[in-house]
Amino acid sequence: MSSLLSASSALSEDALRRLKREMWARAVKLGFRSWVGWRRGFTSKADPQRSDRVTAEVIEHLERLALVDFGSQEAVARLEKAIAFADRLRAVDTDGVEPMESVLEDRCLYLRSDNVVEGNCAEELLQNAHRVVEEYFVAPPGNISLPKQDDQEPFSHI
């Protein structure tokens, strides 16, 4: 079985499907248990909903950009489904169509005159913050990057 597993990773989708069918027929003869073991290894390639775009690098990149973490394998799976869903847009022909940013694009944006009409409410604004010193919001030191994925366990913080 294991030699077949390594060989089929080089095959195209069609060939993979044919192989799967043949294997299934053989597996019925060989017994259910061995078939299940084989299938488990190939779920990600056979499942049309999963795209293999969300690699570990992408995960790390996104977590750093967004400053939120995935938290679990299910979240990654959900992202993959979301991407597969969004891929449906490829079927639309958008040649010569301009992107639309706002439905009010034909109108002029309102600009008010540059006069100070309100403000001076520093005290009220500071009340909502947790850490304040005099009139400053207190932040931890900046310019320190998050530790790399290798230095921390994946999904350690659920």
Binding site: L79, A82, I83, F85, V92, Q127, N128, H130, A139
Partner: protein, 436 residues
């Protein structure tokens, strides 16, 4: 994320209502950051639909289930402004504000048997509304009848210097005269909205409504919005992308929840956001960031913006061909039990439930969900009218006429009220006119 946050200012829509003498009774529950279509994912817990406790629903249930714990199978309100819809449906208040980015006002309105109105984009100020999708958000209005919605809209509509996306055209007052010219109307029925998942009851009410207009002399024609099947995908991409950007402001530094990590700003932000956001919000932020990556920007975000133009153009073409208003279902079916709703995750549910409502947000058009009748289970079903941009008054006029024809029954919550008001008194309450 906003734990402990007390806003230091009022949103313009709230301030306008307060200036006119409204009494703010409270804030209602919703899906966290308005992301969801069931009002089940809020920090304070899910919202229960008052119709779960209505006499109309209970009587139908008695005929079926026996020996079941009465409170275990309560129904969702729809979302994301479910708390507002529930409050209005249960006679807690005269009106409630919601937000509508993909149908979040109209969806719960249909499930709770109230009127849910989405104004044209640019008519009502968004200053103070936590932004989800800047180009699609509007504050929504929930009331028990169309006249009340018109009253509230009259107070809220108009230019706001603090929101530069509000239009500067002068706004006429929104009194609704009785609509007598039904026979001059042209109603469009978009054929792509006949989704296979649409329940047969909703479909039959939809076609009865179309027949009603026809019998009064209106012209009822089938129209086509060819890109309808892509609108939910387009919405998904644009929404997550904008969310990724808009949620970046929540870092715990100036307001809201903040965790105790002090190693670095990045670590503090990451931990705060992990604790403060639930899975749904985090999922959308990450999806949005994915679509905005350099390698994906053109293929997803820009592509979705182009598809958005196609969808908006679909509507423009239909309205240019002489159609005054579109009539569609609001939801696929009546409200479902909570236990059933949570079997699928939030993203799947939103993709299913927003199908009739989100294209309107992409085109910035006004729309209203009007309760039509009760289903076989005794639950409300609503239908949606979509109007031309900035023709909100005309849309409401038509909705008011329709509302009068269908005579949607009042919810009977007698079992919950000990020394109860009679049905008659409840009916008097259903429309309260403010003296201006």
């Amino acid at each position: 994320m906003l734990k402990g946050y007390v806003p230091p200012y009022n949103a313009t829509v709230v301030q306008k209502l307060l200036d006119k003498g409204a009494v703010l009774m409270g804030k209602t529950n919703l899906d966290e950051f308005a992301m969801g279509s069931g009002s089940t994912d809020g920090v304070f817990g899910p919202v229960k639909n008052p119709w779960s406790y209505s006499k109309q629903y209970r009587e139908k249930r008695k005929q079926e289930a026996h020996g079941e714990n009465e409170d275990s199978n309560w129904l969702i309100t729809g979302g994301s402004s479910g708390g507002s819809a529930a409050a209005v449906a249960a006679f807690t208040c005269f009106a409630a504000l919601g937000s509508d980015t993909g149908g979040s006002t109209r969806n719960p309105a249909a499930h709770c048997g109230v009127v849910g109105f989405k104004p044209s984009y640019g008519l009502v100020s968004r200053h103070g509304l936590i932004p989800l999708v800047n180009s699609m958000d509007v504050p929504g209005i929930l009331t028990r009848c169309v006249d009340d919605a018109a009253i509230v809209l009259g107070m809220l509509a108009g230019h706001d210097p603090k929101d530069s996306t509000t239009i500067q055209d002068p706004v006429k007052p929104f009194t609704l005269p009785t609509f007598a010219d039904v026979n001059k109307l042209c109603i469009g029925i978009p054929k792509e909205y006949l989704a296979p998942e649409l329940s047969s009851e909703v479909r039959s009410f939809w076609s009865k409504a179309a027949n009603l207009f026809e019998s009064e002399g209106a012209k009822v024609i089938e129209v086509s919005l060819p890109h309808t099947s892509y609108s939910i995908v387009c919405y998904h991409v644009l929404c997550t992308s904008e969310v990724a950007s808009n949620m970046a402001r929540f870092d715990g530094l100036e307001y809201g929840h903040r965790c105790d990590i002090n190693v670095s700003t990045e670590a503090m932000y990451a931990a705060t956001r992990r604790e403060g956001f639930n899975d749904v919000v985090r999922g959308r932020i990450l999806s949005g960031n994915f679509f905005l990556l350099k390698e994906n920007y053109e293929n997803y975000f820009i592509k979705a913006q182009k598809v958005r133009r196609l969808i908006a153009n679909d509507f423009v073409n239909v309205f240019n061909s002489g159609v005054d208003v579109l009539l569609t279902p609001t939801t696929l079916s009546e409200a479902v039990p909570y236990l059933e709703f949570i079997k699928e995750d939030n993203r799947t549910r939103s993709a299913q439930d927003d199908i009739f409502t989100q294209a309107v947000n992409m085109a910035g058009l006004p729309a209203v969900s009007v309760p039509v009748a009760l289903s076989n289970q005794g639950l409300p079903i609503g239908l949606q009218f979509i109007g031309r941009a900035f023709c909100d008054q005309q849309l409401l006029k038509i909705a008011k006429w329709f509302e009068k024809q269908v005579q949607f029954p009042v919810i009977q919550l007698q079992e919950l009220m000990d020394d109860c008001s009679s049905d008659f008194e409840i009916e008097k309450l259903s429309s309260v006119f403010l003296k201006q």
